[in-house]
Subunit: 224 residues, 2 copies
Amino acid sequence: MEQEATPTTKEALLLAAGELFAENGVEGTSIRAIAEKCQANIAAVNYHFGSKENLYVALVRYVLEKIKCYRAEDLLQNKQEWAQDPIKCAEAVYQIVEERCQQYLTSLHPHWYSQLFMRILLQPTPAVSEIIKDIVIPEYNAIRDVLRCCRPEMGVEEAELWTDTLMSQLVNYIFAEDLMQLFPEPRKFNSTFQNRIIRHVSKVLIRGLKLPMPSFLEEGTSYA
Amino acid sequence: MEQEATPTTKEALLLAAGELFAENGVEGTSIRAIAEKCQANIAAVNYHFGSKENLYVALVRYVLEKIKCYRAEDLLQNKQEWAQDPIKCAEAVYQIVEERCQQYLTSLHPHWYSQLFMRILLQPTPAVSEIIKDIVIPEYNAIRDVLRCCRPEMGVEEAELWTDTLMSQLVNYIFAEDLMQLFPEPRKFNSTFQNRIIRHVSKVLIRGLKLPMPSFLEEGTSYA
DNA sequence: GTCTATAGGGTGATAGAC
DNA sequence: GTCTATCACCCTATAGAC
C-alpha cells in the first residue's frame, strides 16, 4: 500500500482531488476529472490509493492535520501563568480566536481546505468519523478547558455552550466567504475584514464571559 | 394543488428526494433510489419534474419556504411599539432566537429540512442562488435591522457582525446535531437542551449588545 | 510507475404500450 | 399517470504491455 517512489504524482493527485471534492463533493467528482486536473493517468488514483474512497480518507486526514490549531492546548499547559489574571484570560480568548480565524479564513491555506472541512463535518462516513475523533474533538475540548480556566465556577455544560459560541462563528465565516457573494453588496474577505472578525468574535466571548476588555479591543465600539 | 390527506405521487417524490438528497447529496442519490423509496415508478421523476436537476431546484424552494421565519419582519413593522424600550429590545432578540431555533432544531419539521439547508448553503448552483436571494437574504436583512433598532447608534457593518453572531450559532447546531454524536458523551438534542440553546444564544446577543437582561433569562448564570 | 484497453455495472432519460 | 424495456453514457476498477 505504501509507495515510496514518485511522491509528486501521489501528492498531485491528493491536491487535485481536494480541490474537486471541495467544490463538487466526492460523489460529484470522477477519478477521470482528478487525473485530468493534474495531468496524471486515469489509472493513477487506483494505483496510488487503491480506490477513490481511500483517496478521500487520506485527504481528510491530510486536511484536518493541516488546519489543526495548537494555541488552546499550549495555553492549557501554561495555565498557571495566566489563569488567575482576568485580563490575561481575556487575552487568551483573543489568541485562540485569532489563531483559528487565521487557520480557517486565510490565504495561509488554500480555500478548498476549509470548504472540504465543511463537507467532512456535514457527512462523516465511519472511517472519517475516527479521524474527527482523533483531531477535531481534542481541539474542541482544549478550547472548552481554556474557557473553564477563565471562569472556574462555570460548569462543563456551560463551558461547552461558550465553546460552541466561539467555534460556530468562525465556522460560519467559512460558509459566508462563498455565500456572502450572493448579497447585493458582497463582503470582501480581505485582511481588514478578517481582522474585524477576530476582534468581534473575541469581544462576544469576553463580554459574554464578563471578562475585562483588553484596551486594544476597546476602540471602535460605538455604544456604551 | 395542496392535498394533505393523500399525497400525490409528485409530492411523495419530493419528500423522498429530500430525505435522500439531505443524507447523500444530489450526486450521491439516483432517481431509482428516490422512486424506490416512495414506491413510485422509475420514470416518475422525469415525468413529473422533467429531470433530476429540476426536482432538486423545486425541492430547494420547498424547503426554504418551509423553514422561513417571520418574527423579525413582524417586529420591524411594529418597531415603534418596542424600539425605544431597552428591555423590550432584549425580548425582541429573544423572540427571534426562539423562533429560528424552533424552526431549525425541532421536531416541528423533519430533520432533513435543515440537513438539506446546509447542503444548499454549501454548494449553491446558479438556479439555487436565485432562490437564496429571494428567501434567505431578506430574512438576514430583517434580523440586522431589528438589531439596529436595538442600538440605533450602531453602523450597518457592526449590525451585520451581530447578525452573524446570532445566525452562526443556530446554524452551527444543525451541524452539531449529527456531529456531536461522535463525542465521548453525546449531547441529547431534546427539548431541554434546545431550551438551553435558546437561552444561551439570547444571552450572548443581549450581553454583547449591552441590553438589560430580562429577568426570565437571569436565572442559571453561575457567575457575576 | 505509467499507460491503454476494456470489463462490468450504475446512471439519467426516453419511447411506447396500457 | 403508470409502467416496462431499453438506450447511450459515464463510472470505478483492473489486466497487462511498456
